[in-house]
């Protein structure tokens, strides 16, 4: 009798790129829900646009590169790029912002470098950075969290769709009336105006940890991240190193001058700290690969993020920190090759 042959091993774990990406998306779900709870349905529109455009761009790029569409459109990586980018944008941002950012991310940051697995920079962060330097005004139009005690005018569902797709507010709303800076921006502005941190935090948008609403989103991201750790989809090295490298300098500076520097809890629950630590810096394609390398890479991102937030020109620094450390990955990988069994070094 004759039989088919194939090289060993003949059994592999039931795992796939698709499964990994799907679980990452699931892990984002609680934070997305929180985001909608506190900032309205705007994010849903952004997510939808971001994902659809990422898939379209992926399809166009695959077609141009004469690659098979099915496996790469369904691997989930393009959707993740679109979703992560959308999560960084203000809920009422005009449609062309997320569309151009998502398309740029997939076409330029991913496929010009060779597609899945070959991009040295995190595509979503490239997309976001391009938007941030090109359209800074649109990226500051955040909403205040929807809390009972914060009596502010709120756009409804219809207003949200109108604003995103028309690119301007409906007649009965004005930006001044509905927008609010993010906690990081607010803190930054207050401190630069000479207020102490305690005075800045008297604003009702701040809670016990950091910005209200944002604290819950960050905690949900932390929860999702821990779930990914348990599933071993991500390893602890990058998130821990990054969060520690944000928290330690924050705690030290806060201890030195409590009036001028917010503490570790504020930094960890504000901005993109948790999104960055568990969902962006952990993108394995653009991250360092050995465990030691991951520690250095994560710590670098955390430290640069803190420096940009504290002394730099932007309220948050996760995107730029990730991109800078992406650029350092080949160097880190070169100098952090682990010792092989039986070798002294």
């Amino acid at each position: 009798m004759t039989f088919g042959t194939s090289p060993a091993p003949h059994v592999i774990a039931p795992n796939s790129v698709r499964r990994v990406m799907r679980l990452v998306l699931f892990a984002l779900a609680p934070a997305i829900v929180m985001h909608i709870v506190f900032f309205g349905v705007g994010l849903l529109v952004q997510l939808f646009l971001g994902a659809i455009v990422a898939l379209l761009a992926e399809a166009i790029a695959l077609k141009l590169r004469r690659k098979p569409l099915q496996p790469f459109l369904t691997d989930g990586s393009a959707i993740i790029t679109g979703v992560l980018l959308a999560m960084c944008l203000p809920p009422l941002a005009p449609w062309w912002l997320v569309v151009s950012g998502s398309a740029f991310a997939v076409l330029f940051a991913k496929h010009l470098y060779g597609g899945l697995g070959s991009n040295p920079f995190n595509p979503a962060m490239v997309g976001y950075a391009v938007l941030l330097v090109s359209f800074p005004a649109q990226l500051t139009q955040w909403l205040p969290p929807q809390l009972a005690d914060l009596q502010l005018l709120r756009p409804g569902v219809g207003d949200t769709f109108y604003t995103v797709f028309m690119g301007h507010l409906p007649a009965h709303l004005t930006w001044d009336a509905i927008t609010s800076p993010t906690p990081l921006t607010s803190m930054r502005n207050s401190l630069s105006m000479g207020m102490t941190m305690q005075e800045a935090q008297a604003n009702p948008m701040f809670g016990a940890m950091g910005g209200r609403g944002w604290d819950w989103i960050n905690l949900s991201l932390l929860g999702g991240g821990v779930w990914l750790l348990v599933l071993r989809i991500v390893r602890w090295h990058i998130p821990l190193a990054m969060l520690a490298a944000i928290a330690v300098p924050a705690a030290v500076m806060n201890a030195v001058d409590p009036g001028a520097y917010p503490g570790a809890t504020f930094h960890l629950t504000a901005g993109a700290s948790m999104l960055g630590a568990f969902f962006i810096a952990t993108d394995p394609i653009s991250a360092a690969t050995s465990n030691r390398g991951k520690l250095i890479y994560g710590a670098g991102i955390g430290l640069i993020t803190y420096v940009i937030r504290t002394w730099g020109g932007y309220p948050d620094g996760v995107a730029f920190a990730v991109l800078m450390m992406n650029a350092a990955v080949p160097l880190i990988d070169r100098y952090t090759v682990p010792r092989v069994y039986g070798h002294t070094r």
Binding site: F3, P9, H10, I12, V20, T289, Y341, G342, H343
Partner: protein, 485 residues
């Protein structure tokens, strides 16, 4: 405390299927096919000719190189042919085989039992070599040269490997259950050959029956040199270097041998074969083969005369059931997918898996590497398979060498965990010979350069000598021209 192995996998063992029934000796076939190169090293050289009558156990091919193993007839009968036949090896192509027609007489060459204690270690090694004994764990490395290298150390620590970490395989398990005393006899003989002061028999903790059988036999023996050690069941803890590390906490140097750290490792089956050769005068002419997989009706462990076609093992196990996806020699992680069951059982054949599709999980479409690092977490040798993959694709041999491609043991752990389903082990198996060739040609190039440089130097030296002589001559001539000067 057991030092942990780096990485590795906890795999479903699938071993219970084949350990329900006792060992069974199956009758010899009408014809046996015995490849001359069924061991690591140089092929044996045939000592019989076509038409010769041979007895069971008679020498039919002799080891004539340092690393080689003798071969004996597994049946009595007539040598029908010495010709190339298809063989169950990883490399392609046929091998020269001695084909013996079984006359059914079972006439056996009589070899007297030998008292190992009467032989000095050197002679004992030599004698073990005469039995055609090779490592029965799967690599089939000739036992005598391995012992000789171990002898250079004084009193190494002998490790008998009964870990059997690979899924499906249970031949060592059944051997330990049923022939524990024979294994320990072999241990004593090997201890004498090595002048070893210590012998550890290592058994993974998924084999409690085998372990208690070994402990009972050891208690009867009262030999303080021998201890039985249970270790956690992790694939590939049964690899030679891996088991040494698990037991001793030491690593075998990359460019060295276990004997460099005072250890020598043999399979429990090898020890039993040694005992059978010295005590019963039976050279290595049969072995235990696990016949299992969902595609075989009555799985179990069979004692099989070498050279028996694989198809007969299946016939004696109730035949195939269902449509077989793969017929594997060895386990599912490192086993060889056989193109046919008309291939002979060789010394390295520890297991035959008739696998239905449900027994396997074959690769789907290969996706690009996403550098997730699962592979380096799983790698027992602490390599970075994701980087090796990258450099193997771009044929960057310098990077492959410095990242330790040659240290890869091809266990397949990286393949197993890869979400992109990349055939990493296969890629590394293929890249290794290319890298070796590069290294050798580099070595040859540097030799050639040395030769070239020394030739240059030699020519320069000759030229300088010639000039010196010329100058002397000239000087002499000048002096002659001025005799009065």
């Amino acid at each position: 405390m057991t030092p942990a192995l780096h990485g590795g996998l906890r795999l479903p063992g699938n071993k219970q299927r084949s350990t329900q029934k006792p060992l069974r000796l199956i009758p010899a076939p009408d014809q046996v096919v015995l490849p001359l190169d069924q061991h690591a090293g140089a092929p044996a050289v045939a000592t019989v000719r076509v038409g010769d009558r041979v007895l069971r156990g008679q020498l039919i091919a002799r080891a004539e190189s340092e690393i080689s193993a003798s071969l004996h007839a597994s049946v009595a009968g007539t040598v029908l042919a010495i010709e190339p036949r298809a063989v169950p090896y990883h490399r392609n192509g046929p091998s020269t085989c001695i084909v013996i027609d079984n006359d059914g007489s079972d006439a056996t060459a009589s070899v007297a039992a030998v008292d190992h204690a009467a032989l000095d270690p050197r002679a004992l090694c030599e004698y073990i070599g005469n039995g055609g004994i090779v490592g029965l764990g799967g690599a089939a490395f000739p036992t005598a040269p391995k012992l000789r290298r171990g002898q250079q150390n004084d009193g190494p620590h002998l490790i008998l490997n009964g870990a059997e970490c690979e899924p499906w395989i249970s031949c060592d398990d059944m051997l330990m259950r049923e022939h524990a005393q024979q294994i320990l006899r072999g241990a004593i003989i090997l201890c004498h050959a090595l002048q070893a002061a210590r012998c550890t028999v290592v058994i993974e903790d998924d084999k409690p029956v085998a372990e208690s059988a070994m402990r009972a036999a050891q208690a009867e023996l009262h030999d303080e040199r021998i201890v039985i050690q249970s270790v956690p069941t992790i694939y590939p803890a049964g690899g030679e270097n891996q088991i040494i590390t698990v037991v001793t906490g030491l690593e075998v140097p990359a460019s060295g041998l276990p004997s460099d750290i005072g250890v020598l490792c043999h399979n429990v089956g090898t020890a039993a074969a040694v005992a059978r050769w010295l005590d019963n005068g039976e050279p290595l002419i049969r072995r235990i083969v696990t016949v299992t997989g969902s595609g075989v009706t009555e799985p179990g462990n069979l004692e099989v005369w070498l050279g028996t076609p694989m198809s007969q093992l299946v016939d004696h196990s109730g035949g195939y059931s269902g449509s077989i996806a793969r017929l594997l020699m060895g386990g599912s992680m490192m086993g060889l997918a056989l193109p046919s069951d008309d291939l002979p059982v060789v010394k390295a054949s520890n297991c035959l898996v008739a696998a239905l599709p449900a027994d396997l999980h074959l690769r789907g479409m290969e996706m690009p590497c996403i550098r997730c690092g699962n592979c380096s977490e799983a790698c027992p040798v602490m390599l970075l398979p994701q980087q090796l993959h990258w450099f193997a694709r771009s044929n960057d041999f310098a990077a492959l060498e410095s990242l330790g491609l040659m240290d890869c043991i091809e266990c397949g752990c990286c393949d197993y965990v890869c979400p992109s389903q990349i055939p990493l082990a296969q890629q590394f198996r293929q890249a290794k010979p290319a890298l070796v060739e590069r290294l050798t040609s580099k070595q040859q190039a540097s030799l050639a350069r040395q030769r070239y440089e020394s030739r240059d130097q030699r020519l320069e030296r000759i030229e300088a000598e010639r000039q010196a002589k010329l100058a002397e001559k000239r000087k002499a001539m000048t002096q002659n021209n001025h005799p009065g000067g």
